[in-house]
Amino acid sequence: MKFLTLILLTFSLFLPAFAEDADAARAPRKVLKAVGEIPVLFNGRVMPLDSFARLHLLQFSGRKSYQGESAISWMGRLLFVPESTEDDAVFLINHPEVLTAIGVENFQMLPGERKPSTRRFSYHHLMPGVMKLEEIARRAQAMQDADPEALKSKEYLVEREALRVYVNVLTYRALGQVFAFARPLEDLRLESPEIREALKVQLGEDTFSYLELGKRISGLAPLMIEAQAQEDPTQWTEAQQDAFTLAQMMFMFQQNLSELPLTMLPEAPHGESIWIAPMDGLSSPDGDQALVNAAERSGAMALAWAAGDWDEVANDAKMITEFSRSRMKHVRETGLTGKEAQFNRANYFVRAKVFYIFGFFIALAALLSGNRILRLAAWVPVSIALVLHLSGLAWRIYLTARPPVTNLYGTFLFVGLICLLLALLVESFQKNGLGLFAGSFVALTFLFIADRFAAEGDTMHKVVAVLASNFWLSTHVLAVTTGYAGVWFAGVFGHIWLVLKMLGKDKKTLETVRLPMEGLLGFGLTFAFLGTMLGGVWADQSWGRFWGWDPKENGALLIVLWTAVVYHARVAGLIRDVGTAVGTVVGCIMVMVAWLGVNLLGVGLHSYGFTTAMATGFYGFIGFELVFILICLTVILVQEKAVKAS
């Protein structure tokens, strides 16, 4: 009982932490909320600036926040006060050889500079090596252009990494320039009295922004017309020369700052979805005054952020959001940016993971002690985790208007949930804590694996034309992934059975594991078969052939065939309990081969990108399972021999 009290007390300590806002931001929370809801177009879909910020910070640093600061807060600083981020260690460099190659390995820290983390470095830190980085990256890009497979070789690891880091540095720089048009620029210092008079500059106004000067630039027209009347430019007065220099600088600014990566203003009032960066909105060729106003308002927002005028920032952000929504009524996502930002802030899956951890340990304690109260207590965190997990998936379905299985990330979330539901079903029959223990462990593992896929980019991206069918996604993909869940979870019980057998547990205990194991295998076989064949039906509908021996089709078929082999071998008496348990463990390997392994092959209609780290993880998993089987079989054989001998 004391143990239970201790667990619940520890558990309750974590609750206030969730009540706190995760965004320990520099700007107030309501400002970040307003700014985070601004719709932007990125990777073909309209998303809130909050998601844009998370994706970019993830791309740069591999993390969704920076040292406790939320992504939107950090992105706000990068966009509106870029110099404040120059010492932030956000550039992830996986291979230290890149630092050596660009000559910044022994970079001396400046007084007051933060000590760099071992793998993440600041822009300031990388600055001295950027020229060299560009040189390596350009060579790598040329190689990749000539042969897309060239950089995949291990010997070009540094080049590949340098190219990735260089792209991040360029993106970082470009994002820092998005609102440069609104900031006073030293280069636009007006000293000539004639120019100051022509532009009606007040005393004390020394530096100007592109935006301010753009509004007054027409004042230079008399000086320039006068100058153009003279054929020989050497005869121009100093004021006339200054006027031309200033006009030229304005032109260069416009050229350099156009088409920057933050496309947050919809250009066309109706019809096509054309989104442009704020700077480009200032020079609307069609005289679109509403667009120009919105662009100016975004500039005002940048200045207000820099000045800490948070009310102004929030008002400007809301106005820009309203402007985009009123223009893009026909694009569903534009109206959902607030909801998506809310979903991002809720961190359902992170919270679910914490509760799964609690559930796992309490269920483990219940299993080991046989304590009924502990077992009942384990239901609490696991149920909360289930609600959070389910809510997160429901949000994703609502936001994307698609079944939750459009990419590998989504499939891990979904399979984790199905495994948990199966576990709760088992638990409701067995009432021994085993279902809660195994279910929370598997759901937790799959949420962690999903995180690895989330690091690859937008998890709610648009699907390609051939996949854009909600009917088939919600029949074939849901069925086949439910099959994965069944076979996988049977394998988990297979692992538990083998471990218990090695520990010499009695037959009664083993039976409590064997029965759900076989039931789950049947469940998995049914859904894997249905899903695989529905995939054939989809292929027939889309490509005109039911079966083409494509690797992904074959992967799914492997699960079906292997599960059928285990069943029939059992019925035929070729294997018994040990063989069945080993068969379910091999079933786990089959599931991983179908789920991830076939993507490694890089052939067929279903081949997706695959990172080296994931490939290593995949082979590691197979190696682990094979060693596990070998150890189990050896120990069990030795035990049986010993029993026979005695």
């Binding site: 854009a468 039906v537 027939d540 889309s542 052939r545």
Partner: protein
């Protein structure tokens, strides 16, 4: 009778399923270096394949065995098997699936039609199969005969209906290139005729993508004036003319196998759209006019996941190509009268599986309650 009973053995089922698992895995990994076509050819479409000198059963043989095994099991084990309705449904469904697959393999047609905007066709061409066409006219649209290249083994003699000419296959390569006289080191005793000037063939290694194969065939001809041998390749610029003794001409050429369609289709417009700011396709579709007879025509849209079906034929939006002046839409065309068999088989087997496992779980629970 006892010997026949071995076909109903569950051990045979285990062997078939296990060997299919092995073949599926092997064939999948094999695709990395050899491509899908080669893997399919070697493992899945074969009855026997060789590893060195060791013959091993291919998937066709194993699936035939499995079908026989299912059939025998059905009659031997489930005569009074209404206690196990799920199991019966599973076996019926699987037999239907195997039969359907076999029927599709024998009778199904897979071809493509490529159309530029404004262009029309009434025939589809195979992506991988070739034929030798033979006609009395140079530009024969309808009046031609054809023989499949895959049927022409070395040494085989053949002729066309009402034809005075006979042919004998001297060489037939799945993938080859034509050689001109200047490329040969030796002088030929007989110089074959060819419209592109090729006089010999050089066999090439097969590619991972069989649709890119360029076959070649050398034939001995009897009955043609002044011509003893001919070489045919896809690079020939026009049909090869053969003059008969009476002075009339016959025309022969190697081309992709052609299938007559039950309609004439014209591509009016091809359109595509991408997600804004990306190159990810959101949708692509073709507006075609279908002429079904002298006076019957109608417009249809073929797009991804929404094919057009008519008289057992199905037209799918497959891909497209863009040139400077025009856009070309490519349609996959299939004819498969057994198309719905796997659909039914899937439904029956899935229901059977669900019934069987629910029944098993129910029985297990009952047993446990009894024990308790």
């Amino acid at each position: 009778m006892k010997k026949l009973m071995m076909f109903a053995s569950i051990r045979l089922t285990v062997f078939c399923l296990f060997w299919l698992t092995v073949l599926t895995f092997w064939g999948t990994v094999y695709q990395v270096d050899h491509g899908i076509y080669e893997a399919q050819h070697r493992f899945f479409d074969s009855y026997i394949f060789f590893v060195g000198i060791l013959p091993l059963p291919g998937a066709m043989l194993v699936m035939t065995l499995l079908f026989i095994n299912l059939l025998f099991s059905f009659f031997v084990h489930y005569q009074a098997g209404w206690r196990m309705p799920g199991l019966m449904l599973i076996h019926i469904g699987l037999m239907m699936m195997l039969l359907g697959g076999f029927f599709t393999k024998l009778t199904g047609i897979e071809a493509t039609v490529s159309l530029f905007e404004g262009e029309g066709r009434n025939a589809a061409v195979s992506r991988t199969e070739w034929e030798i066409s033979y006609s009395n006219e140079l530009h024969a649209v309808q009046a031609y005969q054809a023989v499949d290249l895959s049927d022409l083994r070395k040494g085989r003699e053949f002729s066309f209906r009402d034809s005075e000419l006979t042919f004998k296959v001297l060489e037939n390569y799945e993938h080859a290139k034509g050689l001109q006289a200047v490329e040969l080191e030796e002088t030929l005793e007989v110089t074959p005729s060819n419209s592109a000037g090729f006089v010999a063939l050089e066999e090439l290694d097969r590619l991972k993508t069989p649709e890119e194969h360029t076959p070649g065939v050398r034939l001995q001809v009897e009955g043609a004036k002044g011509i003893q041998e001919i070489v045919l390749t896809p690079r020939d610029q026009r049909p090869l003319g053969l003059e008969l003794e009476d002075g009339s001409g016959r025309f022969i050429m190697l081309r992709r196998k052609r299938y007559e369609l039950p309609l004439f289709m014209v591509l009016n417009d091809f359109s595509r759209s991408y997600y804004p700011g990306t190159e990810t396709p959101e949708d692509y579709r073709s507006l075609i006019t279908v002429h079904l007879g002298e006076d019957i025509e109608r417009d249809v849209i073929i797009k991804m996941n929404e094919p057009f079906r008519i008289n057992g034929w199905t037209f799918f939006q497959q891909s497209f190509a863009v040139t400077d002046n025009s856009e070309m839409s490519v349609f996959a065309v299939t004819r498969n009268f057994g198309r719905l068999v796997p659909y039914w088989a899937t439904g029956i087997t899935s229901v059977g599986l669900a019934m069987h496992f629910l029944q098993m779980q129910w029985m297990q629970l009952k047993r446990r309650r009894k024990k308790a």
